[in-house]
């Protein structure tokens, strides 16, 4: 029926990988790596700017999560090349409003993830698995806000 693997197998696999990650260093997380990438990028062009910002300075080193996220990107790429790509919404990249929607969406998504200290990985997969009430609150708000946004604006264009 589907060209994708069974959800139960995928869910258990991700849960086991998260447990392994916890055992090695810490549970899975992704969004801090966006900050680390920014900090590493700025570090090469404007070092004083990093020194002035304690948050960027703290994340200006290659850490466990960044290595894991880079490997995740490569793992996803290999899987796509071997088993086939997943669907996107190419129309969004062709119109000015579509490009604006994608950029603003990405901007708000990571901005919000940093306020809540985690994204779908850090808060929903890992925070909820640790039974954190803060992460559960974050997850519920994510689904409410996401559902309402798509109800109001639609999901296609």
């Amino acid at each position: 029926m589907s060209r994708y693997i069974n959800w139960l197998i995928a869910g258990i696999a991700i849960g086991v990988l998260n447990t392994l990650s916890y055992m090695v260093k810490k549970p899975l997380g992704v969004s801090t790596s966006f900050v680390t990438s920014c900090a590493l990028g700025i570090d090469t062009i404007d070092k004083p700017l990093i020194e002035k910002n304690p948050y960027l300075k703290k994340h200006s080193k290659i850490d466990y999560q960044l290595i894991l996220v880079i490997a995740m990107a490569i793992g996803g790429l290999i899987s796509a090349l071997v088993f086939g790509r997943s669907a996107g919404n190419p129309g969004r990249a062709r119109s000015v409003t579509g490009i604006f929607r994608q950029f603003l969406g990405g901007f708000l998504m990571l901005f919000g993830a940093r306020i809540g200290k985690g994204c779908t990985s850090g808060n929903i997969l890992s925070g909820d698995a640790q039974m954190s009430i803060g992460s559960i609150l974050f997850s519920v708000m994510t689904f409410i806000a996401g559902m309402l946004t798509l109800l109001i604006l639609g999901y296609k264009k």
Partner: protein, 179 residues
Amino acid sequence: MKGRFLTGLQAVIIGLLFGAVLQRAGASDFNKLTGMLRFSDLSLLKIILTAIGTASIGIYALSRKGVEHFTIQPLQVLMMGVGGLVFGVGFALNGYCPGTGIIASMEGKKDAIIAMAGGLAGSLTYAFMKPSIDKSLARPNYGKLTVDKVIRKDPLGTAIVFGVGMIILALTLDRIKRS
């Protein structure tokens, strides 16, 4: 030095598998991600619930063995609430989440690449606004609250009930939606 190398190698292996499973499960598929937020395609939600349940039991079992690598954030109600709201709006607008958006970008999808560029800009903006955000959203703060602490029960026992509950919810989700 040897320890750091081993940790890095383990990060690479876990990351490679994590990315491959996400991609193979359709988690970087625009239609599946927006379908989850519209509750029209529940497969990713079922994956998330199962993954939470499995990891919950695994993590708290390891904790019982003395492995304490928790990353629990304090329950700052406004911080987590506002963060989730803004995150959810952004997620719904662009159709990918951070991890799956990175994978979708690697697959060559331009819609995802633009969103991830926006994500870098959003992260950088946050870095400069952090002091004022922290000041305005810090309270109320109830500390590192977890379900077991709220109900005052054994952490591992709670995690097993919580984890099994999540997996049962995933298994019955289709039936709940139909009724």
